[in-house]
């Protein structure tokens, strides 16, 4: 008896690791699909929907097409490209004995854009064509002012109720989750029961607003820290300049041949620039006062929250070309300032659902900011060129992360190359730092005090 029990226990312990076939029910009947532990043969499962599955050996990726939809994924990866959009998978796709396998949750994520869902249990899953129930695809995006949760695939405006650590959304018409909710940013997770979607929030996070959007239809929740947010400043009598000393804390930035640290040079130049601006009567604030680690989004968020007039990020450059030298000034590229980004930023900056007029107004302001950023960058570069010891490397546009969320004219200046031994030594000298600071302050002050018409976009360098 004891021997039989041990035997049974042993078999039970190893059973999940033995290859087996599970029966998957489909609208046409049922099919056997290879399975081991919690993994299933994805290619076979996907083909049961009528999709074409191809493996491109040269690219190392699988391509699944069904109708107008296309899904690509690769063994060893946890990302898929779904109809041109990068989508995280709940688990990695693997190769096992010549088969491409993944968990049932991964399979469900790949099936969803093809219009299929996976129901039932892990032992007896059922492939079902998506019917009348809307397929909710929940994702979260961290922005400069907090996390935005986007619920795609619904035209409904659910009843929203905010609790201490969760938000519930009650849908009037049937809904299903297209894929399990993955914890992301400040969204800790979530479940759907009887058309009620419960979203769990990270500690200290609460609902700041919700609204429905069209084209494509989706419902959006804005999350914010529950801790009292510093109130918006009362309207200022004058302009405010935000100077951003690049890097800081654990992020040392570039290093010179004598171990000169970019984070130290940017702070010294920013402090000196602030002193010059304050002498000229302009209110100035730094994104970091000392050797601190500050995220890129927090830097821009500070400028947005304080409704700054100008944002200038100060950096020192490095290049594999050791002879490279000179200053460069950048502003946001038009490519990174497309209408989608503008709309996303408009939503971020709107307390509630932005209407069309708000979006148009914001878009106009964004274009004006781009033109003004070009003017600011020209002014800065012109003065740095005037310093005899710097060589013009020009003004360029590039998709700088720290400039992405700025809602005011913004530029990023590289004051010189730390990778160039001569320039590194020069950048370390207090008098050089002060010369650069004076040039930056002069350019910023001139920009603020001389609001001349912005140059046409055609005059700006194109990406």
């Amino acid at each position: 008896m004891r021997r039989k029990a041990i035997l049974a226990l042993g078999l039970l312990a190893v059973a999940p690791w033995l290859a087996r076939a599970i029966t998957v029910r489909t609208p046409q009947g049922s099919a056997e699909v290879f399975s081991r532990a919690d993994l299933v043969d994805l290619a076979v499962l996907l083909r049961l929907t009528g999709a074409e599955v191809h493996f491109a050996a040269a690219a190392g990726s699988y391509s699944v097409t069904l109708g107008e939809h296309e899904v690509q994924f690769t063994p060893g990866g946890s990302l898929a490209v779904v109809d041109g959009r990068l989508t995280p998978l709940p688990g990695p796709v693997r190769l096992l004995d010549g088969r491409v396998v993944g968990s049932l949750a991964t399979a469900a994520t790949l099936l969803s854009p093809l219009g299929w869902s996976l129901r039932g249990t892990a032992a007896a899953p059922e492939l079902a064509k998506v019917g009348e129930a809307e397929q909710l695809d929940v994702s979260a995006v961290r922005g400069p002012t907090g996390t935005t949760v986007i619920i795609r695939g619904t035209k409904q405006k659910p009843q929203v109720a905010a609790g201490a650590a969760a938000i519930t959304l009650e849908f009037a018409a049937p809904v299903e989750l297209a894929r399990p909710i993955t914890p992301e940013a400040e969204l800790a997770g979530g479940e759907l029961h009887d058309n009620v979607l419960t979203l769990r929030l990270a500690a200290g996070i609460e609902l700041a607003g919700s609204y429905a959007l069209e084209d494509p239809p989706r419902f959006v929740l804005r999350l914010a820290r529950a801790a009292p947010v510093a109130p918006l400043p009362s309207p200022r009598s004058g302009p405010l300049v935000i100077l951003d000393p690049g890097h800081g804390g654990e992020d040392q930035g570039a290093k010179g041949p004598g171990n000169e640290l970019e984070k130290d040079i940017t702070l010294a130049v920013a402090r000196a620039t602030a002193a010059h601006l304050q002498s000229a009567g302009l209110a100035t604030r730094l994104t970091r006062e000392g050797d601190e680690t500050i995220s890129l989004t927090d830097r821009t968020a500070l400028a947005n929250r304080l409704q700054a007039t100008v944002f200038v990020s100060i950096h020192a450059n490095a290049s594999a070309a050791r002879g490279a030298k000179g200053a460069e000034t950048y502003y946001m590229s038009a490519d990174a300032s497309d209408p989608q980004a503008a709309q996303a930023a408009a939503r971020e900056n709107a307390g509630a659902s932005p209407d069309t007029v708000q979006l148009i107004l914001w878009d106009l302001a964004h274009v004006a900011n781009l033109n003004n950023s070009a003017r600011l960058a020209h002014g800065i570069q012109e003065r740095l060129d005037a310093l005899q010891s710097t060589r013009d490397r020009g003004i360029r546009q590039a998709p700088f992360y720290v400039l992405t969320g700025a809602t005011m004219p913004a530029a990023l200046v590289e004051v010189g190359f730390l990778s160039n031994p001569e320039e590194a030594a020069r950048l370390l000298a207090a008098d050089t730092q002060d010369q650069i600071a004076a040039a930056l302050a002069d350019a910023i002050a001139a920009f603020i005090r001389n609001p001349t018409p912005a140059p046409s976009p055609a005059a700006a360098p194109s990406p």
Partner: protein
């Protein structure tokens, strides 16, 4: 003693079942084995590609080179271009990717976006805006120039979408940037 015998019996059963499963699997190759192209590949068609590498002036410089085979599929061609970039310049330019990068998955979607997964750079491998610009645009310019139908490139690192390597926004596909190319 009885317990030891019972344990040995379990081991024997497990070993037996495992052997049967392994043998069965060998006899029945998976469907993907059948999908993978066999050894009878078409005759390679030689071609040439134009790559971009950072020069002494920190601008990107063109470098043309012959390749023994120019694939017709875009995903394979993207991989080829990326592997040639990783191999480095033959004309003395600096490395486009300043670490021993390995090219992983390659995707090309219907919107003209290519996605390339690279092994992530070690800390301190990418210092300064110009180094990061070279990583972003040596790859993007090279891929877009050589792969018809590809308009943008997004680099992934270690199978993950990465917001930034310190300066630039890598969270979405980038269009080529020709003002970084030396005249």
């Amino acid at each position: 003693m009885k317990a030891v015998r019972a344990f040995l019996a379990v081991l024997l059963v497990v070993a037996g079942v495992t052997a049967v499963v392994l043998l069965a699997r060998r006899r029945q190759p998976g469907p993907e084995a059948a999908m993978t192209p066999g050894p009878t590949a078409p005759t390679p068609v030689p071609g040439h590609v134009v790559l971009f590498f950072p020069g002494d002036d920190a601008l990107l410089h063109r470098e043309a080179r012959e390749v023994p085979e120019l694939p017709t599929s875009n995903a394979a061609r993207v991989r080829l271009v990326m592997e040639e970039l990783v191999a480095g310049s033959r004309e003395g330019y600096a490395a486009a990717l300043p670490w021993a990068a390995a090219v992983g998955a390659v995707f090309v979607d219907r919107e003209g976006n290519a996605y390339v997964d690279l092994s992530p750079p070690p800390p301190d491998a990418i210092e300064g805006t110009d180094t990061e610009l070279a990583v972003a645009y040596a790859t993007t310019n090279s891929v877009v120039l050589n792969c018809p139908g590809v308009e943008r490139l997004q680099l992934l690192f270690g199978g993950q979408q990465v917001a930034t390597l310190g300066h630039l926004d890598f969270s979405r596909p980038l269009a080529p940037k020709l003002d970084l190319v030396a005249p």
